[in-house]
């Protein structure tokens, strides 16, 4: 999808990096402008508790000390961007006084564990199934995998999560369907705590992974079917290579290129993709933080999350572009 043909001038590392920086800058500018649209004067909001006794002069002084009397563009924008660059994302409304950066860093490991595991599982199963289905096009396994992947691809992962909770948690009672650990489970031994955490991971990881598997199968299969019809495959066959040799030496490597790009791109979306699933399982990561921020209209936190999502996506895109340039000599 992205990457690929770039038009005249070719594929320069500098150009790719420049684009990424511009996109990131646009994320920052959007973040700034968007949250200035909300009605209400920030200074008035800050002094809302002491409304009766606040004089116009005090308000004026407050506005001055926060730099709110300066024009929106460029003064306020520049100071917003520069403080953001220094890692200062402001303070949360809901969690009074807490820094947004701290909140996000606290929650991030939970999301990374969930989404990372799901990615690994999806990559292994998705690529294997997709390559196999594309190699044996029209076979039983192909039809079965393709149908299932399409259905999984169209299924919202959080709904899958709800179904899994009904089935495996409520009805069968096999696995926990809520939270990331049971209180007190880790008191006995380290092992008991670890097993408890893993049991809590299974259903949410499965919900995220199944949707991703569908995606990987679709792309890997398409890439493989493209490769199978190439001239060099006919040549390889004419040279008397066996099926296994053809698959290993020629088909697999070439089919992997789009898949690697997709994997790299997906790494940028791991956090975004887990948001809704976390909401189902009350998983204490970025997703639940997003829901809390949405419900409490905690805009600084929402701003910080948007910045995190934007930055990770832009970064993953940058890596994907660079990898594509490395792997495909035609792009160089």
């Amino acid at each position: 999808m992205s990457g690929g043909v770039r038009g005249p001038g070719g594929h320069h590392v500098g150009q790719v990096v420049f684009r990424a920086v511009i996109t990131l800058l646009m994320v920052g500018v959007l973040n700034f402008l968007l949250f200035r649209v909300i009605p209400g004067d920030p200074a008035a909001m800050l002094l809302a508790g002491a409304r009766s006794s606040v004089t116009t002069e005090q308000m004026q002084a407050q506005r001055q000390s926060w730099g709110l009397d300066k024009p929106l563009v460029p003064d306020q924008l520049v100071s917003y961007l520069s403080t953001t660059l220094q890692g200062d994302f402001g303070y949360s409304f809901k969690f009074r006084g807490k820094r947004v950066g701290e909140l996000i860093i606290e929650r991030l490991p939970e999301t990374l564990a969930l989404a990372g595991l799901a990615q690994i599982i999806a990559i292994i199963f998705g690529i294997f199934l997709g390559i196999y289905a594309g190699w044996r096009r029209g076979g039983v396994i192909d039809n079965l995998t393709t149908g299932t992947s399409l259905a999984l691809y169209s299924t919202p992962p959080f709904w899958l999560g709800m179904l899994l909770v009904v089935g495996f948690s409520t009805m069968l009672g096999w696995l926990p369907g809520y939270g990331s650990y049971s209180p007190g489970a880790g008191d006995g031994s380290f092992l008991a705590g670890l097993i408890d955490r893993l049991r809590h991971l299974i259903l949410p990881v499965l919900s995220v992974a199944l949707g991703l598997i569908g995606q990987y199968v679709v792309v890997a299969r398409a890439a493989m079917s493209d490769v199978v019809t190439e001239d060099y495959m006919v040549t390889a066959r004419a040279k008397g290579l066996t099926n296994g040799q053809m698959l290993r030496r020629h088909a697999f490597r070439n089919a992997l290129l789009p898949v690697v790009t997709l994997i790299t791109l997906n790494l940028g979306y791991v956090v975004a993709g887990a948001i809704t699933v976390e909401a189902v399982f009350a998983w204490p990561g970025i997703g639940s933080l997003t829901v809390e921020a949405l419900n409490a209209r905690d805009y600084p936190v929402l701003q910080g999350i948007f910045l995190l999502l934007g930055a990770s996506i832009v970064f993953a895109n940058l890596i994907a572009d660079l990898i594509y340039g490395l792997l495909d000599p035609r792009v160089r």
Partner: protein, 312 residues
């Protein structure tokens, strides 16, 4: 007059033949038949919900017991307020489909305009428009909508009524439509680049046809197949985005879409109390509709472009 008659007659015959062969090829795909059938069913639901299941039930006029499993009275059971789930999902079809289709329309119009202008004018127009497109292409619609929707909702407020729909629906429609066009713009641009060099476009320009007319009369008709095939995928994506946003609480509980129903089910603890019918029905609707659009999109892609196989 008499001389032109056979010509137009012939042209009409060619057109009819083309449409017939298109339909037979398109409907030759099992997936396309399935998708069209399912969509007609859901469109009928969306067109006349009151006729099928009566007016939308609310907590005030609900008749059933709380969280009853499917029975003869409530074919799909009831929710935590005693409302009939079948009633809710039929009314939800209207909300979900209106959001998905109108936002797709916006996205197709914006994407086509941007892509066509970029490809046709080239040079600085192209590079600026494509820079902008890059941004929307990289940042997914869901992520953008996640921060834009609450801000806009807060700014305009949630009360009132426009054309029988709540204003928050328009906000969601606009936000999804205006954030999901980049994919279309890229495809349209690359197609425009090849069309621009074709003789019929050059001839039209030499004859002094205005740029706007060249784009609308000569380029656009040739872009329709590509736009249609990808439009189906845009709808599927719009349904997903809407469902996810509503699930996170950005939907309107007074005019529930399927995603809003899922959010209500989650809040009522439907999953942990085993009320599979409550959360199963709206989710299944989402899957069927979005799968239908994907299947139709693949069949269209295959029909219009026989050299490329259907995506999966």
């Amino acid at each position: 007059m008499t001389e032109t008659l056979p010509a137009t007659d012939n042209r009409r015959r060619i057109r009819v033949r083309a449409i017939k062969s298109f339909l037979s090829q398109f409907l030759g795909h099992g997936g396309a038949r399935l998708g069209v059938f399912a969509l007609i069913l859901f469109m009928a639901m969306a067109a006349m919900p009151n006729l099928l299941v009566g007016p939308l039930q609310t907590a005030m006029n609900a008749t059933g017991d709380f969280l009853v499993s499917p029975s003869q009275v409530n074919l799909l059971g009831t929710d935590e307020a005693g409302r009939d789930v079948l009633n809710l999902i039929v009314h939800g079809a209207r909300t979900s489909l209106v959001i998905a289709l109108v936002s797709t329309l916006i996205s197709l119009v914006v994407g086509t305009a941007v892509g066509m202008a970029a490809g046709y004018y080239g040079r600085w127009v192209d590079s600026w428009l494509m820079r902008m497109t890059d941004f929307f292409f990289v940042i997914p619609s869901f992520v953008l909508a996640l921060v834009i929707t609450p801000v806009v909702l807060e700014t305009i407020g949630r009360s009132g009524n426009i054309l029988g729909f709540r204003p928050s629906l328009f906000v969601i429609i606009l936000v999804i439509g205006l954030t999901s066009w980049a994919f279309v713009a890229r495809i349209v641009r690359s197609q425009t680049l090849t069309l621009r060099e074709r003789q019929f476009v050059e001839r039209a320009r030499v004859l002094g046809t205005s740029n706007l007319k060249v784009m609308l009369r000569h380029l656009l008709p040739n872009l329709v197949p590509q736009i249609a095939a990808n439009g189906a995928l845009v709808v599927a994506n719009a349904i997903y985005t809407e469902t996810a946003l509503s699930f996170l609480g950005l939907g309107d509980p007074l005019q529930p879409s399927w995603g809003t129903l899922l959010a209500l089910a989650q809040r009522a603890g439907a999953a942990s109390s085993g009320a599979w019918w409550y959360l199963g029905a709206p989710g299944l609707c989402v899957v069927i509709v979005s799968l239908s659009f994907v299947l139709i999109g693949n069949a269209l892609d295959d029909t219009f472009n026989p050299r490329r196989r259907a995506i999966p």
